[in-house]
Amino acid sequence: MSLVELVIILFAGAGYFGGIATFLGWCSGARSSHVLPLDALPLCRKSKTNRRKGWQFFWWSLFAAGILALEVIATSELAELLVPEFRCSGSFWPMVNCIIEPSAPSGSVGAVIVGSTAVLLAAHRYIRMRPVYPSVVLLAGIILFGAITDVLGGVGHSASMTAMMQLAASVQFVAAAGFLIAVSILQPPSVATLAWGACAHVGCAVIRIFGIAAMFGLTRHLPPASATAIWLTLMVVPGISTALAPAAVLGVVSAQRG
């Protein structure tokens, strides 16, 4: 791995994990206390609804499709920039078909084992300190399983970049779908509120692109099972989580604006 590539991976990784942590930290500050008391629970309040006309769904769909296309193009372009041997024959899921010159990453198996074990041990310590241990153990377990599978399989070839790229495209696809669903359900009462949701979506899309770049740089040096497991836990799970950013932001802004 060249120094430039290492710097890019570190920069992108910092942007990704920093962005994810900041976002999830904001989410954890949610308050629900004014659900109480029960008699004030507006479960049956009949107030006017903010129904939008049908044509607006068309614009939202168009907007989501545009965002999705831009995200996938940006992702594949960035991946090609980061990995010189990497070539994608298509720029849109699912026709995307990426190839990479084979490398011999079997030397990194040991590092993956050590790294995964460290993650699991850290998770074990986390068990006693924090309440989210089942999730941490599950995700660390998946990574460790990937590493063990590689060792047992004695694999010497690199991860399938096409599969990784399709995973990345899927995450972006879900994010666009999440944005569309959130807007359709929450029906923002004003353009300004909708803009907040759009900003949240675009912001999280940028964070995900950082993550995709970092993961591409990282996993091309890993054997396939470890790479797949790392993608599943470090990219897909937070990816799905950030796909809900527009819902979270629209919810808060809608509540504040009555």
Binding site: S28, L41, L43, P131, P134, I185, A229, L232, L250
Partner: protein, 418 residues
């Protein structure tokens, strides 16, 4: 290897079908024009001229922290005094539960206490069965000892029994301790989706909502016609639901009949709760799945919904196994079914993941409390826990079935202080 691939494809199909069901229910609730569907129950209440006799059963095992608060709200319920009886079933408590119940009973003639012998069979179902034997009313209403019903709730739960086909009613459960921590906020979101969308959607579509064993009423005749409570079952409520609907009784869900409960505040407690539910629910799957599909009492839609409902706690273990299995398959095998299907499977699966979140969004929108969605992106933490806990429940069930061992009842811990 081929079997593994078939299993993964089965899991994927099941996940997509379950997600499709969740999307449909969300759409059904969302498409209802009024905020609270189908009504607030006022018309049903006004139509009742002669209220039936009701016994409220409150099984209590070491509930000294919450019982007094619960009983004080029970005594304030709006219902004809001569028609209402409250029976606290002290289920082998070793704390002050019995003393508290007797103290309140001495001050309120409508409150009675039944103390179970220390050697009595453990579990909520056994306690309720014993309480039912001394309750004389036609309608029995069940509450857990941590519940805090508002005054109008009882009439809302009892009014639908004017229809002789109704065998059971079920109200909505609302967490009271939502701000206790991250877990309670996430459980609040899950409860909203489960009740305001899933149960409510099934009620709207004329499917069979689930009787939850608490905040619910049951007609004695219906209960007796299906053989009473199954003592020793870990999901006695689900078990009863399926026996009722297979016998032709109707279960009604009443979204407006909302009642507070405590949800687990710590993750190990939540783990045990989900494990218990998964154990009992899959026990029901073994017992009723084919019966539901072959029942002449149920419509086609009810059969499909019932069968899918029974599969809900089997899916997590399938998903967990598939997640682990897919890693070596994608990584190693060059030409196999999964690699062929992967470009299509990945986005479909990912879109299916949005289904439960969509239900939460719909519930928050319908409740007009969209601010709670701020915690939505963290819901995957709770989902991971449920994945592992439900899988543990399935493993435990399989082990006990093979060994012929009866399950052990795990009591859910309470957090309120007396």
């Amino acid at each position: 290897m081929v079997l593994l691939e078939i299993f993964i494809l089965f899991t994927t199909t099941l996940g997509v079908v379950l997600a499709g069901r969740q999307f449909l229910l969300a759409w059904r609730v969302m498409s209802q024009p009024e905020a609270c569907q189908p009504s607030d129950g006022r018309a049903e209440i006004d139509a009742v001229s002669d209220w039936p006799g009701v016994t409220i059963l409150i099984p209590a095992h070491n509930e000294e922290c919450v019982l007094a608060g619960c009983l004080s709200t029970m005594c304030a319920l709006d219902y004809p005094e001569d028609k209402l009886s409250i029976l606290v079933i002290d289920d082998r408590s070793t704390d002050r539960t019995r003393a508290i119940a007797e103290e309140i009973s001495n001050k309120n003639v409508g409150v009675r206490v039944l103390s179970r012998a220390p050697e009595a069979a453990p579990g909520k179902a056994a306690a309720i069965a014993e309480g039912m034997a001394i309750a004389a009313s036609d309608i029995l209403v069940l509450f857990d000892a941590d519940y805090l019903p508002p005054p109008g709730l009882l009439k809302q739960l009892v009014a639908p029994f004017a229809d002789p086909n109704v065998g059971a009613t079920m109200g909505r459960v609302v967490p009271v301790n939502t701000d206790a921590g991250l877990l309670t906020k996430l459980l609040d979101l899950e409860r909203r989706a489960g009740y305001a969308v899933d149960q409510n959607g099934r009620e709207m579509w004329g499917l069979n909502p689930q009787f939850g064993g608490t905040v619910g009423g049951i007609r004695r005749a219906a209960l007796e016609s299906v053989g009473g409570w199954r003592v020793g079952h870990l999901a006695e409520d689900t078990d009863l639901t399926f026996r009722l609907v297979l016998a032709g009784w109707r279960v009604r869900y009443l979204n407006h009949a909302a009642c507070y409960e405590e949800v687990p505040e710590d993750w190990p407690n939540r783990f045990r709760q989900v494990r218990r539910w998964a154990y009992g629910h899959n026990d029901c799957l073994l017992g009723y799945w084919s019966g539901v599909l072959r029942s002449p009492q149920l419509s086609f839609a009810q059969k499909i919904d019932g069968a899918l409902l029974l599969l809900i706690y089997l899916f997590p273990v399938c998903a967990l196994v598939s997640t682990f299995a897919v890693i070596p398959l994608i990584a190693f095998a060059e030409h196999h079914l999964i690699s062929w299907a992967w470009p299509w499977l990945a986005p479909i699966l990912a879109a299916a993941l949005l289904a439960p979140y969509t239900q939460v969004m719909v519930a928050a929108a319908r409740d007009r409390q969209p601010h709670v969605l701020r915690a939505l992106p963290l819901l995957f933490l709770s989902s991971c826990l449920s994945l592992v806990a439900a899988s543990a429940g399935v493993v435990l069930l399989a082990r006990n079935l093979i060994a012929g061992v009866r399950p052990r009842w795990d009591k859910t811990r309470r957090y309120r202080t007396a």
